[in-house]
């Protein structure tokens, strides 16, 4: 019996194997989309619980990894939309250019950890667009579709994210 079939049959050990194979990718996506590791961990739990419940609907048209990634992405997007609706601060955060302290200019290569921390600090709205476009590799049309925004808005948000990262990373 293959791994997915064992998972469907309620084999928790098989599900753990599935988790071990895909958790890092989905956790990383969740942390970056949410902007915090704590929220990313909560999202990861919800994603895998949802996967456990929905495995019966997996048709095998795509790989299980692709199926899990789509499920995770949709879950992250739901989370982002829900948080955005609650806070209703998208416009303000996108326009708030004064929230970052100026730092001394650095010309050394950017360390991964510094970049991760800086991405976490990006304002909501432009962070999600940046993660989807620059990290996950979706084009602007796809990002627009995923986030429910215009393509031009996606471009503008990614641009703003990069400019904010430049400040956060002390490049200006």
């Amino acid at each position: 019996m293959d791994l997915v079939a064992r998972c469907r049959a309620g084999d928790v050990e098989a599900f753990e194997t599935l988790y071990r194979e895909h958790a890092a990718r989905l956790y990383t996506l969740a942390c970056r989309m949410a902007g915090s590791r704590e929220d990313g961990e909560d999202l990861l739990q919800e994603i895998f619980l949802q996967a456990y419940r929905k495995l019966g609907s997996f048709k095998g048209d795509a790989s299980i990894g692709t199926w899990l990634y789509r499920l995770a992405l949709n879950h992250c997007l739901d989370y982002v939309r829900s948080r955005r609706a609650k806070m209703n601060k998208l416009t303000e955060t996108l326009d708030a250019d004064t929230s970052f302290e100026p730092t001394a200019r650095r010309d050394t290569p950017i360390a991964r950890m510094d970049l991760e921390r800086a991405v976490e600090r990006l304002p909501e709205g432009c962070r999600e667009a940046f993660v989807l476009h620059d990290v996950e590799g979706f084009d602007h049309k796809e990002v627009a579709g995923l986030l429910g925004i215009a393509e031009g808005t996606s471009k503008s948000q990614v641009f703003k994210a990069r400019m904010k990262l430049r400040v956060l990373l002390g490049r200006r």
Binding site: E16, R112, V135, R162
Partner: protein, 266 residues
Amino acid sequence: MHPNDETLNAYADGSLPANEAAEIERHVASCVSCRQLVDDLREILRATADLDLQDPPARAWMRIERAIQLEQEGARAEGARAFQASERDIASGHGHGPAKAGHDGMWLPWLAAAAALVLATFVGLRYAPGRSQLAAPASQARDGAAQASAGDAAQSVENELRQAEAHYENAIKGLEQIANAEQNALDPRTAATLQKNLAVIDQAINESRAAIRSQPASEPAQQSLIENFKTKIALLQDTVALINEMRKGNEAGAARIVSGLKQKGN
């Protein structure tokens, strides 16, 4: 004239049309500030492409596994409930009507199970071995040379007794409020089990109080009373929490509490 930042950004990531890109390239070659921005943006893009995956903390899987187990337990309980309901229907000749949903149909069996666990847990704790350990501070006090410290200890125990009693009264009050509010919804079996639990615990408390009356200075008796109070408070809090979870229809939360009661009883 400098190109705007958006144009430089598009140039940096290669999304600018070729004819425009050539023009910007010429400008950037001779303009330090624009070249700096382009270099910075390219460095950010390079670093972004170089980002690694992050491993979740080890506890993440444990949380997921636990949640799955709770779901499985919930599913099994649901199946058992359906079976019991069908048995009752058959016995009462009601046949297979629509499944009971919501308030009284969903949580009362959980409450019955939890109430039984509360009883088992309490009895287990009450007669658990190791009670003699409670006498250790008393013997230490007897052996101690300083009467003042023994007096302080007695005062402390009295204070603790008073505090515990206050907690106990509050917990009882909270439970009574919920029980009154849900009085009509409780099935007779659940109500009877809860009454039995209360009676057993109250009896233990009365026994401790009687022991203190006959030996007011007995620290084991005092500590026994405190332990009984604390145990009852903890169990009542769990029971109240369970009722709340069942009210919300959160079976996973309820199962978690029942599981906690089971562990305490082991």
